[in-house]
Symmetry: C2
Subunit: 327 residues, 2 copies
C-alpha cells in the first residue's frame, strides 16, 4: 500500500522539485563555497523533509496557486537545518542520518556559523513572501525553538524531570516548527482565521507525536533504519519520556540503580541492556506510544472544521503514519 | 570638550532610555530565566551600544516622530549580541569587556542557544516595525555577517592573506551591521532613496573604520581600557591588517621568524614583544590607522548630499571619534 506521505509527495512533486531548487540555489555562494558544502551535506543526507512538505500540503489544501509556498517551504527547511547544525555542536554528536556530522568533518566553528547563515537566509526567503504575518509566525516559532532547546539543557541528566517539563521541551524544540510550517502554509492562502488556527493545532500536535515517536524509536530502532545507534539518547544521558516514565514508576531499588548508572562518567552496552529491561518492566515504551497516539488523535480532530477533500484525507493518513513509523 | 557621541546620546536620551527598556523587556521569560541572565550579562557589560545609537540618530536626522526606531535599535543590539555570544564560543574566548565570557560562565551550549534566541527575538522586534523593507535590509545584513565570519575562519593563521581578503572579512563581520543600522534607521522615515543609500554608505564606512581601529587597538590598548588583554588577537593567531601588512613588508628573515612563531602551539609575551618590534619597524600600526582614516573620510563624504543640521554635524564628529578612539 502506498503511504499517504508518498501520495502527497507525488501529488505535489512539481512543488517539491521547485522547493528543492530554491533550497539548493540559495546555498551557493562564490565567496564562501564551504556554506554549500556543509549545508548540502546535511540537507541532502536523506532527511524526510516532512516540514517543508507540510507547508506545501497546507497551501494546496487551501488551493494556493502562487509560488510563495516554495520560498516558505525552503525557509522552513533552512530553519530546521540550522537547528540541527547547532544541536550537533551542543550535543557533540558524531553521527546524523548515518553520516558523520558537520561539526565532526568541518569543526564546530563552521557548524555554528553555517547554522547562523541558514537562519538568516530563511528570513531572506520569507521576505520574498511579502507577508508580515508569516514573518511574525516564523520569528515567534524560532524564538520558541531556542527556548525549548534551552529548557532541554536545563533537564539534562535530571532523572526526576516531570512529564510536563518534557512536554514543554519538545513542544518548543519540535512542535513549534511543525506548527509554524502548517500555520504559515495556510497564511499565504486565503484561508480564514479559524482555518489557519486549525492548521496551527494540527501541526503542533503531529509535531509532538513525531518527537515522542523519535524518542521511543531511539530505544527500538536499529542502526540502519534510524541512521543513528540504538540508545543514542541513553548514552548521551538525554532525559526523554521513556526515561522519565520508567524512573517515575520504578521501585526504590531500581531508582537507585538508574541514578547510579547516570552518575557514571560514561555508559556502556550493559548499562543500556539493564535499562531496557526496566523500560520493559515498566511498560515505558508502550506508555510513550500511547501518549503519541493521543497527540495524533488531537491533530486529526483539529482538521474537523476543514471541508473534506483528497488532501485532507491524506493529511489524516500522514498523521497516522507519523505515529506508526518505524524509522 | 564633550564628544559628539555623548552629545548625540544626550540629545536622544529619551529614545535611548526607551530602547534600553525594549532591550530589557524582551529578554525576560518566566520559563527560561537563564536567557535574561546570559543576555544581560553581555548586554549590560558596558558595551558602547554605538550600533543602536546610530539607528536612533539616523531616524532623528530624518525627523522621525514614531516609536518604531526603538524596536529597530533594540533589534540591532540583539543581532550584535547574538554574534558576540557565538563569536566567543567559536574563539573560545574567556574575557570580553573585562568580564568573563558567557561561554565560560554558562557553557557553550547556552551561548549558542541564547545567541539563537536573541537572533529570533531581533526578527520579532523587526516585525513590529511593520516594514518588509527593513526585514529585507536586516536579513541580508545577517547573512552577510555570517559570511564574513566564515571568511574569517578561512584566513585564520593565514599569514599571507591579502589585504583584500581581510577587507572582505571585516566588511562582512562588522561593516554590514553598522550599514544596516543606518540604512534601516533611514528606511523607517520618509527619507528618499538617495538619502537612504547615503546613510547605508556612511554606516558601512564607519563600520570598516571602527573594525580597523579595533584591530589596531588590540596591539596598543591597555587591559583597563579595552577590557581585554593587549595582543589578544596575536595570541589567538587572528590575522588582522597589522599582521598582514607587517608580514607583507617583512624581510625574508623576518617572514621566517613570524612563520615559525605562528607554528608554535601557543604564543607567549616574548613572542608578542618580538612581533611588536616588527610592527614598529614596518610602520604597520600607522598604516592601519591611515587606512581607517580613508574609510572615515568616505563616511563623511557620503553625508554630503544630506542637508546641514546639528545632527549631521554630530554624525561627522562621531565618525571622527571612531577613528581617534583609544578604547
Amino acid at each position: 500500500m502506498t503511504s499517504s506521505i508518498s501520495k502527497l509527495s507525488d501529488l505535489l512533486s512539481e512543488k517539491v522539485r521547485k522547493t528543492n531548487k530554491v533550497i539548493e540555489k540559495n546555498l551557493s555562494s562564490k565567496e564562501t563555497p564551504i556554506i554549500g558544502d556543509i549545508a548540502s551535506h546535511l540537507i541532502n543526507s536523506g532527511g524526510k523533509r516532512v516540514r517543508p512538505l507540510l507547508t506545501l500540503v497546507v497551501s494546496k489544501l487551501f488551493d494556493y496557486r502562487g509560488e510563495k509556498d516554495t520560498f516558505l517551504a525552503a525557509a522552513i527547511e533552512y530553519i530546521h537545518s540550522a537547528t540541527l547544525l547547532h544541536d550537533d555542536v551542543i550535543d557533540r554528536s558524531e553521527k546524523r542520518r548515518g553520516l558523520k556530522t558537520a561539526n565532526l568533518i568541518w569543526t564546530n566553528k563552521y557548524s555554528v556559523l553555517v547554522g547562523d547563515f541558514l537562519f538568516s537566509r530563511a528570513f531572506q526567503l520569507m521576505v520574498k513572501t511579502q507577508s508580515l504575518k508569516i514573518m511574525k509566525t516564523l520569528s515567534e516559532a524560532s524564538a520558541i525553538i531556542s527556548q525549548g532547546e534551552i529548557l532541554q539543557v536545563g533537564i539534562e541528566k535530571k532523572l526526576d524531570a516531570s512529564q510536563e517539563d518534557y512536554l514543554k521541551v519538545i513542544q518548543g524544540k519540535t512542535s513549534a516548527l511543525f506548527s509554524a510550517a502548517c500555520q504559515a502554509g495556510a497564511e499565504i492562502t486565503e484561508a480564514s482565521d479559524p482555518h489557519i488556527q486549525a492548521l496551527r493545532v494540527y501541526g503542533e500536535c503531529i509535531g509532538t507525536s513525531f518527537q515522542l515517536i523519535d524518542d521511543l524509536l531511539d530505544y527500538m530502532g536499529n542502526e540502519n533504519e534510524m541512521g543513528k545507534d540504538k540508545g543514542n539518547d541513553f548514552f548521551e544521558k538525554k532525559v526523554t519520556l521513556p526515561i522519565i516514565h520508567a524512573y517515575e514508576k520504578s521501585s526504590l531499588l531500581e531508582k537507585k540503580l538508574i541514578k547510579e548508572t547516570f552518575q557514571k562518567p560514561s555508559l556502556n552496552q550493559t548499562d543500556l541492556n539493564n535499562f531496557l529491561e526496566i523500560l520493559e518492566n515498566r511498560k515505558s515504551l508502550l506508555f510513550t506510544k500511547n501518549q503519541a497516539s493521543i497527540w495524533t488523535e488531537r491533530s486529526i480532530n483539529a482538521l474537523q472544521i476543514i471541508e473534506n477533500s483528497e488532501i485532507k484525507t491524506l493529511m489524516i493518513g500522514l498523521a497516522e503514519e507519523i505515529l506508526d513509523r518505524v524509522s
